[in-house]
Symmetry: C2
Subunit: 354 residues, 2 copies
């Protein structure tokens, strides 16, 4: 087990990484007043185990899935916290994947203007990315993460034991974010290339998760509130990925990030920003997880969705694209051009996939 410490102007977050972390650190929370937030799927798998570790505690179980990330569920959680007599020095435990972490983090941030928060991510995606860095949110009217705060958890317990019960597809989803880190960090990139056949092995995942968390912690320390641009780089793949996710659903967030990264990589290639062997290797990494990148009917509609995405200025679409090993850049592309490129890339994929 190894710790990563994330220090910001106002908070310190300790991230416990590695096999055995849950067993070692969860029982230490037992002296506190706890309020557990989880989802239906995770509760079925681990509800009994949670009770055996923490005893009977007030718990709010949200329906599994992205649809729960809305203001109505947020308010229901807060009401339940109030009814359970949660106090300012109580601790909220967010036990689950990205959706649970995002909405539980926001509930913890808002209740009495902030109670203690421990994130225990149970999916690969939440472990490598969303549980670290303090972004909390719910969606509203189809706009992702438009309501939220920055709120650092006191502690994040990242234990690969929970990946044992994770469907393969969810592993692939988390690998989407891992590959994103590969496009941002040269060390991770090299490790990915070297282990391209071993992505789903437990030892590899434990190791790469720690690397991703370290990278993210460094970025968040530099730019906690997403103002200077450093943190923006973490959105690589997300502008197009979010838009496609909203339009087409079905696939998981991480898959869409990877699909978005693929499309954006082709745009970067077209602009000569990312070329040669490096571009080919990135494509290879993406394909090693996705196998087949889908084409979409009316993909050009994604442009209008992306334009409403909060990461964009007026008429230009902002993309974070890979440039060279360990370096990404922001490119701004005109709305019409972006629309056209998406269509071309999708058409090419359709021909290839046929």
């Amino acid at each position: 087990m190894k710790d990563v410490t994330l220090k910001t102007a106002t908070a310190e977050s300790v991230i416990r990484c590695g096999a055995g972390a849950f067993e070692a650190y969860a029982p230490k929370l037992n002296s506190r007043q706890l309020f557990i937030i989880t989802d239906g799927t995770v509760n079925k798998l681990y509800g009994t185990h949670l009770s055996s570790v923490f005893g009977e505690r007030p718990k709010y179980v949200i329906p599994a899935g992205e649809k729960s990330k809305n203001p109505r569920v947020l308010m229901a959680i807060l009401k339940s916290m109030l009814e359970a007599g949660v106090r300012r020095n109580s601790t909220v435990i967010a036990f689950g994947g990205g959706v649970v972490g995002d909405i539980a983090g926001l509930a913890a941030a808002l209740y009495m203007r902030g109670v203690r928060l421990v994130q225990i991510p149970t999916t690969l995606l939440a472990q490598v990315d969303s549980s670290v860095g303090g972004k909390t949110a719910v969606d509203m009217d189809g706009v992702k993460n438009v309501i939220g705060t920055f709120y650092q958890p006191e502690e994040v317990i990242v234990d690969p034991v929970f990946l044992n019960t994770l469907p393969k597809r969810e592993i692939r989803c988390g690998l989407g974010e891992v590959i994103k880190y590969g496009a941002l960090n040269a060390e991770i990139y090299k490790k990915l290339l070297k282990n391209i056949k071993k992505f789903t092995r437990a030892a590899f995942l434990e190791d790469i998760t720690y690397d991703c968390i370290r990278h993210k912690a460094t970025v968040v320390q530099e730019d906690e509130h997403d103002l200077s641009g450093a943190r923006k780089a973490l959105n690589l793949g997300h502008t197009t990925g979010h838009a496609l996710e909203l339009l087409y659903g079905k696939r998981s967030h991480g898959e869409y990030v990877l699909i978005g990264a693929y499309y954006e990589l082709q745009i970067a290639r077209n602009f000569g920003i990312c070329v040669g062997q490096y571009a080919e290797n990135l494509e290879k990494l993406i394909l090693s997880v996705l196998k087949k990148v889908p084409s979409f009917d009316v993909i050009e509609n994604a442009a209008s969705v992306a334009a409403h995405d909060k990461k964009n200025d007026n008429e230009l679409i902002s993309l974070i694209v890979p440039k060279r090993e360990g370096q990404s850049v922001e490119m701004k592309i005109e709305y019409g051009k972006y629309e056209q490129y998406l269509k071309e890339i999708s058409d090419n994929l359709r021909n290839k996939n046929d």
Copy 2:
């Protein structure tokens, strides 16, 4: 006009104080994308003026009154911001009293994890107290301010011109908080005693407002997130005041703060914490605003409400009480004793008032 600057670990808030501040600083906001939040009463009085200064801007008008401070109205505001296309670098203007400031501040804090916020308080209470320091909130299920964040406005424009349209009762309400500051700050205390007949004069109010804001800014700088205890002192009068407000309603928040301060002052006297001439003078200041302190039937119920107040530990009720000039202390009083004292003080008042 004078500025007060409030610097915290992550933000800087500039408070423009004095006659002419609105005319001088509001037009400077005109180059920005604005979203105005106000209430029905204020909009009737100043809607046309706002349009003449800012032009036609998206605006959300909440019903006047404390009842609007709830999650439903908060979500309606956020939805309206989304529909109006508010972006991350847009500015929310909170134009109104304490309720508008609290809920608009929270909306600004949550929208896209925080947009720019300018507070333009139009009531004395909001000017001397609630618009400064970054506390934002809504109530839930009868519990005041249980959902909120700390979120500093970039700028606060405190112009006494708005007090011209303020009902006398609202002035009294603001004076409640002013007198609270008198119990915390020796300079303000002396100024209040010296001007006890001039409380409602414009020049006096402008001057004392600046003093109160300076005091508050110092406290908030020391303890932005209400953790070390410094900020807790600002709750003088509020534990009992909040409980009575929830149980009996009708009177304004500021009046209840003052009634709470009166009851808590008598408790402090009984415990020998605040005695002699100083205690008499504080009582005189309170009575100069309230004229008559009310007794309440079943006031002992306030104890159970206060025990659920978020400022309290388990079985002890925490009160911030005046001790000597410029010094307050926290006292913890047993639930039963607190109940009994409230009843005794109320009975004495009933006999006196009859």
